[in-house]
């Protein structure tokens, strides 16, 4: 089974890109399954069910979605194998720009959209920098110049990745992506023992454990203060 991890900022078009790509993969008689990771709510699983592909969803709730992802990925892989999938796609939303969900030796795709602004590529950390393929969406509604500027900013941050434009509405470009993600040789039976490409964002403080009250008296553990200079300056 091939494992593909797809990430990207909220509403960048991950689901639309995956849906169109699955269409192209199915034409090659490949069995695809999807596991959707989100934080509070998602009904994307219904969209995938409509495509008649096996789907599972996981909501991280109060936990950092990245940590939730990595704590569950091995079980997800075993589920995919039990479903006899050729390709298992995981979709996770990058909620804090410091997300780092990619695994060494597992294909990583970052989806980012032209509308997010030209400084966005700079703001996104490992999720963009460490991706193998960067998919840029929503190119049909911005000007050619803005597309070129955006792509050049992506290239500055991650010149190693293959950069592609995909229209999530018409699917233009999705067939091409489908040719890049399946490789018989990329067989994965387990991710046990594999490593993340980069460490995940960390925190362990009283607020992680449910504290609501504000003020120094209630802050314990991994707490960091902003440098505001002299208050009376």
């Amino acid at each position: 089974m091939n494992l593909i991890t797809i990430s990207g900022p909220p509403s960048s078009g991950k689901t639309a890109v995956i849906v169109k790509t699955i269409g192209a993969l199915k034409q090659r008689n490949l069995k695809v399954g999807v596991v959707k990771f989100d934080c509070l709510y998602t009904d994307d699983d219904i969209i995938y069910k409509k495509l008649d592909v096996p789907v599972k969803k996981g909501l991280s709730g109060a936990l950092c979605p990245d940590h939730y992802f990595v704590s569950n990925i091995e079980e997800v892989v075993q589920w995919g194998k039990a479903q006899k999938l050729d390709i298992l796609i995981t979709e996770s939303a990058g909620l804090c720009n410091r997300c780092s969900p990619y695994i060494k030796d597992v294909k990583a795709i970052c989806v980012i959209d032209n509308l997010s602004g030209i400084n966005t590529p700079k703001k996104i950390g490992p999720m963009l920098k460490a991706a193998d393929i960067v998919v840029i969406t929503k190119g049909d509604i911005v000007s050619q110049a803005e597309r070129e500027v955006f792509a050049s900013r992506v290239r500055q941050v991650n010149p190693k990745a293959i950069t592609m434009n995909i229209n999530g509405l018409t699917g233009q470009g999705a067939f091409e992506l489908s040719t890049l993600i399946y490789d018989v040789a990329d067989k994965i039976d387990t991710v046990k023992g594999k490593e993340l490409r980069f460490s995940m964002p960390a925190a362990l403080c009283s607020y992680c454990l449910g504290e609501r009250r504000i003020g120094e008296d209630y802050q314990m553990g991994n707490v960091r203060k902003m440098d505001l200079g002299e208050i009376n300056e």
Binding site: Q27, R98, S100, N114, L115, G117, I118, K122, G125, P126, K129, A130, G139, D140, I141, V142, S143, Q144, A145, E146, R147, E148, V149, A151, S152, R153, V154, R155, Q156, V157, N158, P159, K160, I162, T163, M164, N167, T170, Q172, G173, F175, E176, T179, R197, F198, S199, A202
Partner: protein, 340 residues
Amino acid sequence: MNKQVFLELTIEETISKYPFMANYFSDHESTYKKHTISVVDNIANYSEEELEDFAIDVELTISLYYEYFKQTCEFLGIKEEEKVKSLSILPGHNKSLESEEYDELTISQGEIIAIVGPTGSGKSRLLADIEWIADNDTPTGRKILINKEQPDKKWRFSSGNKLVAQLSQNMNFVMDLTVKEFIELHAASRLIEGVDEIVIKILDEANRLAGEAFELDTPITSLSGGQSRALMIADTAILSQSPIVLIDEIENAGIDRKQALKLLIKEEKIVLMATHDPILALMADKRIIIRNGGIDNIINTTENEKAMLSKLEQVDKYLMDKRHQLRQGKILQMEELHVH
């Protein structure tokens, strides 16, 4: 240049040797604060904790930096012989797997081809085949040649050198910039010299196309539909690196479409235009008829059609004049429409 030697240069030395890297360092100024030492030393100065905080992976960061330099050198070194002078589309098949019945369609620099066919007939697929340099490996089985030869697959993956630029009716400007800043930004992304002249050239050409003139300090988001379209076309013609331009239906309002096409041709673009507007379609040298996912026919614009074009243009001008008069606040007068 040897990789090791390059990485040992101080940032100041790097910029003086390779001025195009200045842009990179100003965009990454938060990472590379000290210009008197090398990139590697800048990163070496960070503590473990800082590396964690700024999400810097030492090896990855340096390899990405070097990769950017290498690719940009290649990007700037595009040689004359690599220019796209012609594009050929070799036949594949339609959705019912019936072969497309034409030999080969070759489109040269400065040529305009119209694409006609109902929605969903396969226009997007044709465009995607061109952009992906199809090599019998797309759903249509078509093959694309550039300059009559099997092209390098680099076109597929290079983000700096895309083959096709697109212009469509739905496109908008989303940046909060003036016209001048916008063009400068686009030029900077292409590392082009002589930006000031290019800014003026694009503004002049755009104003020639637009019904109403605009200024360099006009915010791009407050341009009218026609002005936006005019700026997009002038900018694509002059500043886009893509040799092929695909136009998806330009609306009639507020823009001189004939001049727009002339500008693209003058800038040696290969123009493909999806349209059902008879004036545009007849301006093309040929038109491709798409049906059921395949190229059904290729028609050369006939002499008869070209003669008809001038009549259609007169009707169009009549309408445009009325539009202009309305905009000026005039009361329209009944005038006979004489078509010669």
